[in-house]
Symmetry: C2
Subunit: 204 residues, 2 copies
DNA sequence: GTCTATACACCGATAGAC
DNA sequence: GTCTATCGGTGTATAGAC
């Protein structure tokens, strides 16, 4: 504590950046990129709109920073997974984790494969590098799960990985929540079960 | 043919409305509601922007008309399903149908449960009535499929129905298409299989 | 009804005082 | 760096001539 000197101004600066990212994260999960305005962000954080641009030079950069933070957390969660767990268990657990994140307003809504944001992300090297790492880790797990016999061999790897990505922003969650018949935990378990064992269930 | 008299002007009018709806359908499936502009629509149809408002009084009305047409087609497809097929077969077939529609650019991207469009749809009686009919039909099929033992009893009915809705606008389709490793038909079959039998497959 | 032209609001980004 | 004020551009919707 005493040996390291961090300027107070810098601490304040970084704390404000975190606050901005938190606000953007929540807004992105509620309204999505297109409907979120810089005025929304400024109001949520409690700073002037102009001040935002001293931290992030564009709306796309701001969203990219949030996506990078989310990918970092995902990678960290993947790496902290107990290595002795079966691969399919690890896949289930990462889906469970991302769905819980979603429930807490922590998963930005992706505007499909089109739009200005996706183009900006594809030109962001930090984002691409992280996405590649996460993707590699996922594919390795799928490979192992298949050789364990826990994931069907006739389902292409890409289908498995993309499906897991897609479940974390599946509108089914919103519909079920609006219904109000199931608790958040029940929704998560239903989604995990449906993803891995299908609507037909295990009985066949 | 001879007994009924339909004014030429009216035919022309209705033909143009169909052309407008086709264009909007395609644009909605490509860009989604928020990113689609009335200029896009006008350009695609080949009429002036102002003329659009003689047919549909707002952008929301325009999108609602497309959604209603899609729901009508869905209901029709449901009703034309061979009654002697097992319920689960009918559910699979309707998912297959809607995914093929999606491939042809026929499924608008819904902006989740929020946004101006959803609010407008919830105040559109024609839309609500159709949605209710489709929903009722779906729930009846799920009930039958469960008593046949083809859908797991411990999966709540709402989860089944919402999941089927969500699959028709699942971003997984976009990702797989961008990859280019699977044909459109293979993507549809992979999605159907994953939805009903899960990533783990049938072997357990 | 279809066109051109425009009103009105909103948004991303910037300028300039402090 | 933070604020207020504003620019430039775009989008929905409308007005008015034909």
């Amino acid at each position: 504590m005493l040996g390291i000197k961090i300027p107070f101004k810098q601490q304040q600066f970084e704390a404000r950046e975190e606050a901005i990212l938190d606000a953007v994260n929540r807004l992105l999960s509620e309204k999505g990129f297109d409907l979120m305005t810089m005025d929304d962000v400024a109001d949520a954080v409690g700073v002037a709109k102009g001040s935002l641009y001293k931290h992030f030079s564009s709306k796309e950069k701001l969203a990219a920073a949030v996506m990078i933070r989310l990918l970092s957390q995902t990678l960290e969660t993947l790496q902290q997974m107990p290595a002795d767990w079966p691969a399919v268990r690890q896949l289930e657990e990462i889906l469970r984790w991302s769905l819980h994140q979603r429930m807490r307003g922590g998963v930005p809504l992706l505007p499909s494969t089109r739009g200005a944001l996706q183009r900006a992300l594809m030109m962001n090297l930090e984002y691409l590098a992280l996405a590649f790492k996460v993707n590699t880790k996922f594919h390795a797990l799928v490979e192992r799960a298949k050789s364990d016999g826990d994931v069907a061999r006739d389902v292409p790897d890409e289908v498995v990985v993309y499906t897991l990505y897609a479940r974390s922003c599946d509108p089914t969650v919103d519909y079920l929540r609006r219904d109000g018949k199931l608790s958040d935990d029940q929704i998560v378990e239903a989604m995990v079960a449906a993803t891995f064992h299908g609507l037909a269930g295990l009985k066949k």
